[in-house]
Symmetry: C2
Subunit: 221 residues, 2 copies
């Protein structure tokens, strides 16, 4: 439970706030927790897990599929100000799959537990619609990810990934601080394949591969 200081902040995440009765607003406030997760920890672990609605105050979470053999495929990432509903899949009949969710950086979140969320969603159509709408947005993210994986050649996928990481770099050194293993995981490939293609890119003068990461040699415009 959070105190009333958080009220204004919470309202920003949920467009349905004004559609809640004052009782429902109080219920919401009384059932929200503020939690912290360290980088690398698991928020939601696939089968039968049902955390609830996650509102990201800061940090990045990564949602991915995990095969029985341990193969991971990243579906999408969510950042500050965004809401995750697949962590409350158990209360949506229409969601029949499970995903895994990790904190990719240190994260602070608000959590509306699944029981409280279920209660609001069943009593208020705007809450239910919000959940389905957010799920549909994630559907779009997932379709984008699968188009990359299934239709795009590997060199294009890797280049697209590196470019997306590159534009997020805040340091002046232009280095993407990820191991080849991590890159492989994010784009659903194997480390050896990533390493081989990075060497190819290095030969082309596009990147410089070092212990510290992958340095992009183009200038940022």
């Amino acid at each position: 439970m959070v105190d009333s200081n958080y009220r204004e902040e919470l309202k920003q995440y949920i467009p349905f706030w004004d559609k809640l009765s004052s009782n429902e607003q109080e219920f919401f406030m009384n059932n929200v927790l503020d939690l912290k997760y360290e980088s690398g920890t698991t928020l939601h672990g696939g089968d039968d897990d049902c955390l609830g609605l996650i509102l990201i105050r800061n940090g990045t979470i990564r949602t991915y599929m995990l095969s029985n053999e341990g193969k991971e495929i990243t579906l999408f990432r969510l950042n500050e100000g965004e809401v995750c509903v697949l962590s409350a899949a158990c209360i949506l009949d229409s969601v029949t799959f499970d995903v895994n969710i990790d904190a990719e950086t240190d994260c602070e979140i608000f959590l509306l537990g699944s029981t409280a969320f279920a209660k609001l969603a069943s009593s208020n159509i705007y809450v239910e619609n919000f959940a389905h709408k957010i799920a549909t947005e994630r559907f779009s993210d997932v379709m984008w990810a699968f188009e990359q994986i299934l239709f795009m050649s590997f060199d294009k996928r890797l280049a697209t990934f590196l470019f997306d990481e590159y534009i997020k770099i805040k340091d002046k050194d232009n280095v993407i601080k990820l191991t080849h293993e991590q890159v492989a995981k994010y784009i659903g490939s194997a480390r050896e394949v990533v390493t081989r293609m990075l060497h190819y890119f290095a030969n082309e003068g596009i990147v410089e591969v070092s212990r510290g990461g992958i340095k992009i040699l183009m200038s940022k415009n």
Copy 2:
């Protein structure tokens, strides 16, 4: 526009019927068309197409992704009594991707055109929620399809596909009447790969491959 004889039939497709005002119900009835599509024709052709809400009276439609190079990946099929909302993606902000939709068999549908559907969805939260909920159900279908494609080995995928087709066979001959080309298209593979694996299955005594199709040699229990 359909006449009032269709009213009871239409109501079965849409759980929000009782949430519509009588004006909205009339508007719905006045804007529904009954259409027929022949097997193999395209209902909805990807980019910028926006047919509207499809209610399937009979037949099967197939929704698939299409790459620039013409590669197809089947996402899901819908049958009698089911509703397709991705054919009205243009009116849902949360859907940012396009799909293709073909009639896989001769089909009869009711169509609520996208303009009429948009009007109802913007005035009635139950209609909007229905659209998002149906989209979320398709999200689940698509996740299932991608798990098959990305995590399942090819022999298991082909066997699963054949089994799904097998249990749909109504004739006593146990023959799946599809070409290798069609099977390849449905499971997102190449014809040569399908042919090779079918010969392997034939050698194992699981199937018998002939001009007319793929005969399953197990008995149906």
